[in-house]
């Protein structure tokens, strides 16, 4: 299949190379579950303003990487640093017994939002409430303010309502605002989850297989949405995806994982031609070219086989 040039041209280079630290810098990350090494000396750099993709066969460690970034798992070794406004925040600190990773909600407040491989919406709530809950986390309204309906609390409520409406409009879910989340169609649920993540005002958005289980039309809409998130809202996007057509269409940079190791990195055309990548995919009987890989199974079983469900 012919490669398509990345839609936005070459990777934007920082004007002042010395000053511009990457938005996210992952160095020498090692994640182990008992005897299994899920991430093996993983290095990853995400520059501000790009759309970057992480690809790799099933079980390569991609979602584990996301989980490390968001504080769900604590990698045994390595560093994760998030830089914004010239201020660098480590997301994992300490070593040995005192190893700590920032808790998921704290990571979110630093500026990283995510969606999940298997959609995790607040099923019994409306689409509006799903997004509103996320938007509200940016405001400090405590129980006293809530009970007494202090003016600050009311103002916050109004702002979040406005923000929620804006976001629902942005992803095109305005009509579905009052529908119960669980009754929405799959593609719509995906967009809702993205809207919810955006409501937390992130600088970095992690999308975990956003196209899994969607039909070609939905994929095209997703492609546009991702680009708009990046260009209109200035959010850096890091996505895990199996759908190569989508990846090639939106990503400006690709990192390839296999068996927990980074085996290739660079521009889409470079990565596609990389022999190690070709071997990784062909060797495991998967075609990097196929636009419609078994999405159903990748959304289903990889959730089980890719990660060992253990809490360290």
């Amino acid at each position: 299949m012919t490669s398509r040039p990345a839609a936005d041209g070459p990777v934007p280079t920082p004007r002042h190379a010395a000053q511009a630290a990457p938005l996210l810098a992952v160095r020498e990350l090692i994640l182990r579950f008992g005897g299994l090494t899920s991430l093996d000396h993983v290095d990853l750099t995400v520059d501000r303003g790009v759309i970057q993709a992480v690809i790799g066969p099933n079980g390569a460690g991609k979602t584990s990487l996301f989980n490390c970034l968001t504080g769900v798992y604590t990698p045994q070794e390595g560093t994760i640093e998030f830089t914004s406004d010239g201020h660098t925040t480590p997301l994992v600190t300490g070593s040995g017994r005192r190893r700590r990773s920032r808790k998921p909600h704290a990571v979110n407040h630093v500026g990283v939002a995510r969606t999940f491989q298997n959609i995790r919406l607040f099923a019994a709530l409306s689409a509006f409430d799903n997004v509103k809950i996320a938007a509200e986390t940016r405001y400090r309204t405590g129980p006293i303010g809530a009970m007494l309906r202090l003016p600050k609390a009311r103002a916050n409520d109004k702002s979040t309502d406005e923000r929620t409406e804006e976001l629902l409009g942005f992803v095109g879910l305005w009509d579905a605002a009052d529908e119960q989340a669980s009754s929405l169609s799959y593609g719509v649920q995906r967009r809702l989850e993205i809207a919810r993540a955006l409501a937390t005002d992130p600088q970095l958005l992690l999308l975990d297989e956003p196209a899994a289980g969607t039909n070609p039309t939905e994929k095209r809409e997703l492609e546009q949405l991702i680009r708009r998130i990046n260009s209109e809202r200035g959010v850096t996007v890091l996505l895990i995806e199996h759908d190569m057509r989508l990846v090639m269409a939106v990503a400006q940079r690709i990192t390839v994982l296999n068996f927990g190791k980074v085996i290739a990195e660079g521009r889409p055309e470079e990565v596609q031609r990389d022999p190690a990548v070709v071997e990784a995919y062909l060797g495991s009987a998967e075609e990097p070219e196929s636009g419609s890989a078994p999405e159903g199974t990748s959304g289903g079983t990889s959730g089980g086989t890719e990660e060992v469900h253990r809490d360290e």
Binding site: N108, F116, R120, A123, D129, A146, M147, R196, G300
Partner: protein, 450 residues
């Protein structure tokens, strides 16, 4: 160990028996059990057959068994859709109308108004006995249930030691009114003690919750139970502070107002206390309703629905759980002050574990998460046993037994409670379809399959 081999065989064999006969057997057993439970005597460990004899050697047993067979027949016919279809069709229209009416906001507001009016007017016409029941049993426990609802219903945490805070509030009141062996720095009016108890219990709740709320739900339950035990042990053993098993050394004074020319003294009379209690309840319910529909309430819902997703979207889950826990604790403390002042006399035996479980059952029975449901459920479960006891239909010692049975039956047949919140009904329905989790007690690390 031959029993192990036998039992599975028994299980296997029963599967080839006609399920209708199995159900008949079940109903008969239930009938016999109910006969046993409603006997008005109690056995002793030397004469262990006493109650069984009395239950089964009387014609009343036949009545229960016949009733069981009748119920079985009706349910079998219903299953076979003989009578069911006709009934369902005829009532469908009525039921649909009822649900559209019941769900409307206006009807909820009207019923609320009706309840408030009833609560103000009706007690004046009741006998002294029932007025006392209303204050001592119903009002206190409804207040407690509303507080526990925040912890269990909104934050989804199982607190089995809720009464510990009740006790702390009550003893705080006793302390600051000078009724304990230890003299307080200043003696205060119970009204002033109310906010103090709230703060003390808030602190206690935070103290207990901070290390324990990150635990799994089951563990949290046991730990809170332990906390209750420890508090009671403390009250019993620290004689010189708390009066030990004897309880308060001086009667706790009643409420009184002496401000701005208003002088009112509460006395042993029940009615004034009733109005005091429901006044407090009204304030609490008003504040809680606001809380429910605010950012805080929504965050609690998010945590209940999917804790991992909530955290990923910036909700500080532990902090909110702590908040719920502390708010519940302070409500319990509030109720404790009112209780101590009303009764005048408290001792550690006033705060057994059974009470914690009872309040929990009121919340569950009424409709976990819905303030209205909880109030109704708690009122029913506190008022009804008192009435039945007065009519000598049920013995006081048997009430916990019935409470336990009600809990089990509710969970089996109507886990959403009597008057659940609409959201709760949705949550439970989704849970049974395997889509979501209806509480904050367990989650899979990676989300669910489509």
């Amino acid at each position: 160990m031959s029993q192990i081999g036998e039992l599975p065989a028994r299980v296997r064999r029963s599967r080839s028996v006609d399920p209708r006969l199995v159900r008949l057997f079940g109903w008969l057993v239930l009938g016999a059990l109910l006969r046993l439970m409603t006997v008005t005597t109690e056995g002793t460990s030397t004469d262990h057959l006493l109650v069984i004899d009395e239950a089964f050697k009387s014609p009343a047993l036949i009545a229960w068994l016949v009733a069981a067979v009748a119920v079985w027949a009706v349910t079998e016919l219903w299953r076979a859709r003989r009578i069911g279809a006709a009934v369902t069709v005829h009532t469908a229209g009525v039921r649909k109308q009822w649900s559209t009416i019941a769900d409307r906001d206006l009807s909820r507001k009207l019923s609320l108004l009706a309840v408030v009016a009833a609560a103000i007017v009706i007690p004046q016409f009741l006998s002294e006995f029932y007025q006392r029941v209303l204050v001592d049993q119903v009002a206190v426990f409804v207040l407690l249930a509303v507080g526990l609802n925040v912890v269990v219903g909104w934050a989804g945490l199982l607190d089995l030691g809720y009464i510990a805070f009740f006790a702390i509030g009550a003893y705080t009141c006793a302390y600051f009114t000078g009724s304990l062996p230890v003299t307080p720095p200043f003696v205060l009016n119970p009204f002033v003690i109310l906010p103090i108890a709230v703060i003390v219990c808030l602190a206690a709740g935070l103290l207990l919750g901070a290390p324990t709320l990150r635990l799994r739900g089951d563990y949290l339950a046991i730990v809170t139970l332990g906390f209750h035990e420890i508090v009671v042990l403390f009250l019993v053993n620290k004689n010189n502070w708390t009066g030990g098993n004897q309880g308060v050394s001086k009667t706790v004074p009643h409420f009184s107002i002496n401000l701005f020319g208003i002088h009112y003294q509460w006395t042993l009379a029940s009615l004034p206390y009733w109005y005091l209690f429901i006044g407090m309840l009204a304030i609490v319910v008003f504040l809680f309703a606001r809380l429910e529909h605010s950012k805080v309430g929504r965050s609690w819902t998010a945590i209940r629905e999917d804790e991992v997703a909530a955290a990923a979207n910036g909700v500080p889950t532990v902090r909110y759980k702590l908040m719920a826990f502390a708010i519940g604790a302070s409500t319990s403390g509030l109720a404790g002050v009112l209780y101590a002042s009303r009764l005048g006399y408290i001792n550690p035996a006033s705060f057994p574990i059974v009470l914690s479980i009872s309040v929990l059952s009121y919340v569950i029975f009424g409709g976990m998460g819905a303030i209205v449901g909880v109030i109704v459920g708690a009122s029913l479960l506190t008022f009804l046993p008192a009435v039945l006891q007065e009519q000598n239909l049920v013995r006081q010692e048997d009430i916990p037994m019935w409470v336990g049975a009600v809990l089990v039956v509710m969970m089996l047949f109507r886990p959403q409670g009597l008057i659940p919140s609409r959201r709760r009904r949705r949550e439970l329905r989704l849970a049974s379809e395997g889509i979501a989790d209806a509480d904050a007690m367990s989650e899979a690390p990676e989300g669910r399959q489509r």
